[in-house]
């Protein structure tokens, strides 16, 4: 049982850093620009497809990932300039409609360019295989690498947000947007940078999961809901909140999903426990969200309620 717990904690951590990479951008865009971006999951998907294509083109996963980053930055800037910029003054409903339209356009475009079959990305040789943990347990090196990469991005983001001038503007923008604008900060440029940053992080997440999940058209929607849960739990606009929210949500999802049914077997007969566990496990995350919002309506680290 300890073996299972150790493995699930690692799996939870891996899913957590992945969610963080996506949620960090979403929380900044939501918190600073006040834009509800449903198309954020699509960026994660596009990152996966671009990495797959560049990797196939160059024959190297690393080159593919490296080429994807500037392409993602460009996509972020263009998207902000063409669509998102027009939504700042509009209501949340308009933003939801427009970005949902983007989701459909992006999904169809991806189908036209890459087809409907999932695309596999070869595992980089350096990180292939698994390492022994304890006893017969092994863990894939690549998933450990994802954890490391996610934590590195988190540290980098922490330094940027707390110790640079841009970070200062971001923090100020998240809490006192109008004051920042009134002080003469070129808010349009700040918004463009924020959106680009969010796009690059989401695309990076899509790129690094490509070797384990293979890339396919529905992958954006599958993470979007969970990402919004993370943002709401962590507090809108808080990068720190996104980090701890992501880890919390992922741990509850992976550990609860496995141990919930096991715990239930103690009180119910196995068949009923299995059925009830399967039904309850996906709900755990939302129960957690409801409980946190009940205690702290602004989220764990949210400044505004």
């Amino acid at each position: 049982m300890t073996n299972l717990l150790v493995l699930q904690l690692l799996n939870g951590l891996q899913l957590g850093v992945l969610l963080f990479l996506i949620a960090a951008g979403l929380t900044l865009v939501f918190g600073i620009m006040d834009v509800v971006n449903l198309a954020h999951g699509v960026l994660y998907m596009v990152g996966g497809y671009l990495t797959a294509s560049f990797a196939a083109l160059t024959g190297s996963f690393w080159l593919g990932l490296g080429l994807m980053i500037p392409a993602a930055a460009l996509i972020g800037l263009v998207l902000e300039y063409v669509v998102i910029r027009r939504l700042y003054e509009r209501s949340h409903l308009d933003q939801v409609l427009a970005t949902f339209g983007l989701v459909m356009i992006a999904n169809e475009t991806v189908k036209i360019i890459w087809g409907t079959a999932p695309i596999g990305v070869p595992m980089p040789e350096l990180l292939d295989g698994s390492i022994p943990l304890m006893g017969p347990l092994k863990y894939p090196v690549y998933r450990l690498a994802i954890i490391a990469a996610g934590l590195a991005v988190a540290v980098g983001l922490y330094v940027m947000v707390n110790h640079t001038r841009l970070g200062m503007l971001l923090r100020a923008g998240a809490t006192h947007r109008n004051i920042v604008a009134a002080l003469g900060v070129p808010i349009g440029r700040l918004f463009a940078i924020v959106f680009m940053l969010g796009t690059v992080m989401a695309c990076f997440a899509g790129g690094i999961v490509a070797p384990i999940l293979s890339v396919d058209t529905g992958m954006g929607e599958s993470v979007l809901i969970l990402t919004f849960v993370v943002v709401v739990i962590g507090g809108i606009g808080s990068v720190k909140g996104a980090f701890f929210g992501a880890i919390l949500v992922a741990l509850v999802d992976t550990v609860g999903g496995v141990f919930g049914p096991i715990a239930m077997r103690a009180v119910l007969d196995p068949a009923a426990a299995g059925q009830a566990g399967r039904t309850l496990a996906p709900m755990l995350v939302y129960i957690l969200m409801a409980a946190i919002l009940f205690a702290r309506p602004q989220g764990l680290f949210g400044a505004r309620s």
């Binding site: 699930q8 999932p118 596999g120 347990l137 999940l213 293979s214 992958m219």
Partner: protein
């Protein structure tokens, strides 16, 4: 009001005589063109399966030329894996295009939807993949043939193999939908040992880290799974990554010629149950596999082979009748004879018009030309009749 009476009477008569309706020849039976409608899933994540089947059927049609010695017209439609859509398309094929045969589909839920619209008009339906239990048993129909298998059989093969290996502790995993549940039930039909764990995953799930953690923690004697399409590709790659390769990987419809191009080396040595493999040693098979390779640059899987046989089956029966399809009893009898050389060798129909055939353990291997395929390891069942055939009484 009197003018309505004959109409009502006619409707009543039709309703009462529903089984007799099947005896009527469709309007197209008399003309000199052989029309065949193919219904396959040709879009979406499962398109690769439908494409293999379509390619297999077309390959036989190209090799034979005029099927049954008649001018042949083949209409291909995409069911999009949606039963409602498939039923509409099947009705169009029967009513508007007046086809003599409907061939397909891949998925059992699609077959359930098209079975009645096709067979009740007297048109012959030949399934080249789906084989749900009801159509093999109590709901067997004179106008329905399957060139594939009954759905449980490939899973039973793996259960029998696990039993023969003396496994005491097998971990079972399948997606949480009907076919997944049937799969595990099929496995348990022929396996009496212990179950280390039984997990149903979400249909379409792509990250199996939680399930793999459970497998690693339980250290079972073997894993048995049913994960068709993209799910299987991901599971195989992640299984390999997690270092679980020392635990035997038993599966059905998971490691085959449709997923091997994506999983490649990760699946090597993984075991499956099947009614055929591309390296089966007979002349008909050698001709089929090499022709398919030449035409498509890919190794054919069972989906292609079973559709190829459906074309051969139609050809043989129509040829026997000299193209006269108006005597439906004669047509059904000619089809039931299955007088053709199947790439799988031994092939005949049972009472329920499902194949009575051999089943094998197959293993994923890399070919000398760099492509991947499954390869025969041992025969598990000889002339295997499905368990539902006993419930079938043809009217």
């Amino acid at each position: 009001m009197t003018h309505k009476t004959p109409l009502i009477a006619a409707a009543l008569a039709t309703a009462l005589a529903a089984p007799a309706l099947a005896e009527d020849a469709p309007a197209s039976a008399g003309d000199d063109v052989l029309r065949i409608g193919l219904v396959y899933t040709l879009s979406g994540p499962a398109a690769a399966l439908g494409e293999q089947a379509r390619n297999g059927f077309m390959l036989a049609a190209d090799r034979i030329g005029d099927l049954g010695g008649m001018k042949t017209e083949i209409i291909v439609v995409d069911d999009e894996r949606r039963p409602d859509n498939a039923a509409d398309k099947a009705r169009e094929l029967v009513a508007r295009d007046q086809v003599d045969f409907v061939v397909g589909p891949i998925f059992s839920n699609v077959l359930m939807a098209i079975h009645r619209p096709v067979t009740e008009t007297g048109t012959i339906l030949i399934s080249t993949n789906a084989g749900p239990s009801n159509f093999a048993g109590a709901d067997c129909h004179p106008n329905f043939f399957a060139t594939s298998y009954q759905n449980d059989q490939n899973h039973e093969v793996m259960g029998a193999y696990a039993q023969a290996q003396g496994y005491q502790n097998v971990f079972l995993m399948a997606p949480n939908y009907q076919a997944g549940k049937d799969s595990l039930a099929g496995f348990k039909n022929s396996y009496d040992g212990g179950i280390a764990g039984e997990v149903f995953t979400e249909l379409g799930q792509l990250d199996f880290s939680s399930e793999l953690a459970q497998i690693a923690a339980f250290q079972p004697d073997a894993l048995f799974t049913f994960m068709p399409g993209g799910m299987g590709v991901n599971l195989v790659r992640q299984y390999d990554q997690a270092g679980l390769g020392s635990i035997p990987f038993l599966s059905a419809f998971t490691v085959d010629e449709t997923t091997l191009p994506a999983t490649q080396d990760a699946a090597l040595g993984y075991l499956g149950g099947a009614n055929w493999a591309p390296d089966m040693d007979n002349a008909a098979n050698a001709a089929f596999v090499s022709a398919y390779l030449d035409a498509h640059g890919a190794v054919p899987g069972t989906y292609a082979m079973q559709a190829y046989d459906a074309a051969q089956l139609i050809d043989a029966a129509v040829r026997k009748l000299d193209g006269d399809l108006s005597d439906r009893d004669a047509l059904r009898a000619a089809l039931a004879e299955a007088d053709f050389d199947s790439p799988r060798g031994d092939f005949k129909f049972g009472v329920n018009q499902f194949p009575v055939q051999d089943f094998y353990l197959v293993e994923a291997i890399k070919r000398d030309d760099g492509l991947y395929q499954t390869s025969l390891r041992e025969k598990i069942f000889d002339d295997y009749v499905d368990t539902y055939a006993a419930d079938c009484t043809m009217p």
